[in-house]
Amino acid sequence: MSGQRVDCKVVMLGKESVGKTSLVERYVHHRFLQGPYQNTIGAAFVAKSMNVGGRIVTLGIWDTAGSERYEAMSRIYYRGAKAAIVCYDLTDLSSFERVKFWVNELQNFEEHCRIYICGTKIDLIENDKSRRQVDFHDVQDYADEIKAHLCETSSKTGHSVDELFQKVAEDFVNYSDFQVQTEPKGVDLTQKRDLSSYSCCHH
């Protein structure tokens, strides 16, 4: 891992065991690990570069622990994030209630962070429709209201996972192109706000 430069800080949020780590695992390593549930401890960072219309964008993804124990610390993980993927389990209504908590938190502390609401484990519903506990249209209404993007994914099958991160990267490029009219490309204007997303030592 060479001196990576992160263009876009992305944070994964959501109740524990909704599958944030699996989502990252699927996107970064193209795999789905079976086996007993392993909760994340603290947070894990991974960087991945992707091509958006000929431009290389590096996403720095923070996969946070869902456990309440780390809640007080969560700000250090989402501070300065350009995008937050807030996850819920389609088969667990209570996990959607947590989405509202995180959205509130982000709206209060990180107003420039774009929000992506992500339902997980859709493969479970495809097998058995009765397991769905969170209605798509209800969430769509909520997402429209807070101007968030919504998708339903499966880390097991890979359904909509790459598309979600592609969308995050595209939005980042479009948004920063709009912002960065006069600056040469690649310089992060938000440096002042977001010291922690730089890997080079400048202090």
Binding site: I41, A44, S67, E68, M73
Partner: protein, 545 residues
């Protein structure tokens, strides 16, 4: 069985001259002090200048500073008076029968059976009346060798090693009643011994830790393990937060905050049953040529940052090297907890993790942040960097990058990987006939060395049995009522010689065919070998950034 062993254990006067023969050894350059014994600080494996760890004397260190549960009570050695024991015996008999399954009736029914059989019988007969799956699950629960419970002072369950909180809710009440009953008499309950069972209590406000076990372990060792569990919990939430939460609300349910961490505590308890480094309160070193270790250490030293306190390389629970900030010392217990954290979760295996962690022996009041990443999986090599600044992830990440670059550039990486392939050395290379295995701890450095467990200790069952024997002898050697410095234990399967001095602790396992005099001879040759190899077996310097 216990009494059998007891017969064979003796204070062996014949061993006393051993230390003088040893110290007169001309090869022994670093210990010029004459008999009677090596002094602490120049035993094999002692650090050359300064120790890496906070000075730790095994569990004397742990048990020595047990909080006095009630400040106003002087605590008369914690010995429960007989009269109070009688008063509580009725309460306890309920607890005991519930937990041990060996109900009074079943023993009466099968008086000719030995207790071990009796337990199993009782288990099956007691489940037959209900006959449903639920009670069988509960029966299995009762069968475990060592239960560990953590409760709040209000009696709320915090942790149970084998879960099953339904079963716990009724016993928790009894346990708390026992604790508070004796406290009202300005006493502290330490343990209850009944049949083959030991119930051990450790009170660390605001938590009460209880173990119910039928193993060979001594009470002291069990309370040491309970203290480890306490420290484990503190390392997750900090001591400050723990006290604050219960001060605000004595009925607080800590399980919420600890959710997801059960696995870490489970792993700790499982490791303590099989890994002698916990028993000895010492850190296992990965054997490595001194030059290679120095070169590796140098790479860690060069990647420094203001907020970094410790940089640690670990492979399979063995310490490869540790670099520390000047004047800051890690405690072996904190290092054990860090190792346990890393190995108990697969979530660290990919990418870079950044997690708050409290090092309870270093400072229980706040969190450090640990940067955890694997530099290699096969062979395993994990880098841990402990930082004081929670915002400094990218600084730590950059240090990691520098370390990897430097290791690769200097060619250290290839030889390091080669050296990591086998964390253990073979006992036969020492060339002592009948020597099968040993544990050697240098007290001043807090480091431990031990060869691979080879046949006949190559099955889990036999490994476990050997560790249990070590535990038993350790318990005998450190028994506060009657400590022993030398023990020669003769068993059907092996003979073990235990030798505890001011400077080191040594447990040596010989084939059962050997004699006592050949064992004594073997030990002195072994110590010479350890001295000769000490710069490979141990980390003799204590590098800082």
């Amino acid at each position: 069985m216990a009494s059998d062993v007891h017969e064979n254990v003796e204070r062996h006067p014949g061993l006393t001259p051993l230390s003088s023969t040893l110290c007169a050894d001309p090869d022994n350059q670093r210990s010029e002090s004459p008999a009677p014994a090596l002094t602490q600080g120049n035993e094999p494996g002692a650090a050359q200048d300064e120790a890496m760890f906070v000075h730790a004397q095994s569990y004397e260190d742990l048990t020595g500073e047990v909080e006095v549960p009630l400040p106003q009570s002087p605590g008369p050695e914690g010995n429960v008076e007989i009269s109070s024991m009688e008063q509580i015996s009725e309460d306890f008999s309920k607890l005991s029968t519930q937990l041990s399954v060996s109900s009074v009736q079943s023993i009466e029914q099968n008086p000719e059976e030995d207790t071990e059989m009796g337990h199993e019988d009782a288990a099956s007969s007691s489940s037959s009346p209900e006959g449903d799956g639920g009670s069988r699950v509960l029966d299995d629960w009762y069968q475990h060798q060592k239960h560990v419970f953590v409760l709040s002072e209000a009696g709320k369950p915090v942790y149970s090693r084998y879960r099953s909180e339904e079963a716990l809710s009724s016993t928790a009440g009894v346990m708390m009643a026992l604790v508070s009953f004796l406290e009202s008499e300005k006493n502290a309950i330490r343990s209850i011994h009944a049949e083959a069972y030991k119930v051990v209590f450790v009170r660390r406000s605001p938590l009460v830790l209880v173990s119910v076990s039928h193993t060979q372990q001594s009470e002291q060792e069990i309370s040491q393990q309970l203290l480890y569990v306490y420290y484990q919990i503190v390392s997750l939430v900090t001591g400050a937060q723990l006290h604050h939460l219960f001060q605000q609300r004595p009925s607080y349910d800590l399980r919420q905050l600890l959710s997801g961490s059960e696995r870490i505590t489970d792993k700790l308890l499982d490791s303590m049953d099989v890994d002698p480094s916990f028993l000895l309160g010492a850190v296992c070193c990965h054997p490595m040529i001194a030059n290679l270790r120095d070169a590796t250490t140098y790479c860690l030293q060069q990647a420094k940052a203001k907020s970094l306190v410790f940089s640690i390389l670990m492979s399979n629970n063995h310490l490869v090297t540790l670099v520390r900030k000047k004047d800051q010392y890690l405690h072996p217990i904190d290092l054990h907890l860090l190792f346990n954290l890393v190995t108990s979760s697969s979530s660290f295996r990919e990418g870079e993790a950044w997690t708050p962690v409290c090092l309870p022996k270093f400072n229980p009041s706040g969190f450090f942040h640990a940067h955890i990443s694997y530099l290699s999986h096969k062979p395993e090599l994990c880098l841990l960097m402990v930082s004081t600044d929670r915002e400094d992830f990218f600084t730590a990440s950059d240090c990691k990058r520098k370390i990897v670059e430097r290791l690769e550039k200097k060619g250290t990486w290839t030889s390091l990987k080669e050296a990591l392939r086998n964390p253990f050395y073979d006992v036969t290379q020492i060339g002592i006939p009948e020597l099968r295995h040993f544990l050697y701890k240098s007290k001043s450095s807090g480091l431990l060395t031990s060869p691979a467990m080879v046949a006949p200790y190559d099955t889990d069952r036999e490994k476990r049995r050997l560790v249990e024997l070590y535990q038993y002898l350790h318990g005998r050697a450190h028994c506060s009522a009657r400590p022993l410095t030398t023990i020669y234990h003769m068993g059907a399967h092996e003979n073990i010689l235990a030798w505890v001095t001011e400077a080191f602790e040594l447990y040596v396992c010989f084939s059962p065919l050997g004699t006592k005099s050949s064992a004594v001879n073997g030990v002195s040759r072994l110590l010479r070998w350890i001295r000769k190899e000490e710069d490979r077996l141990f980390i003799l310097s204590s590098p800082t950034y």
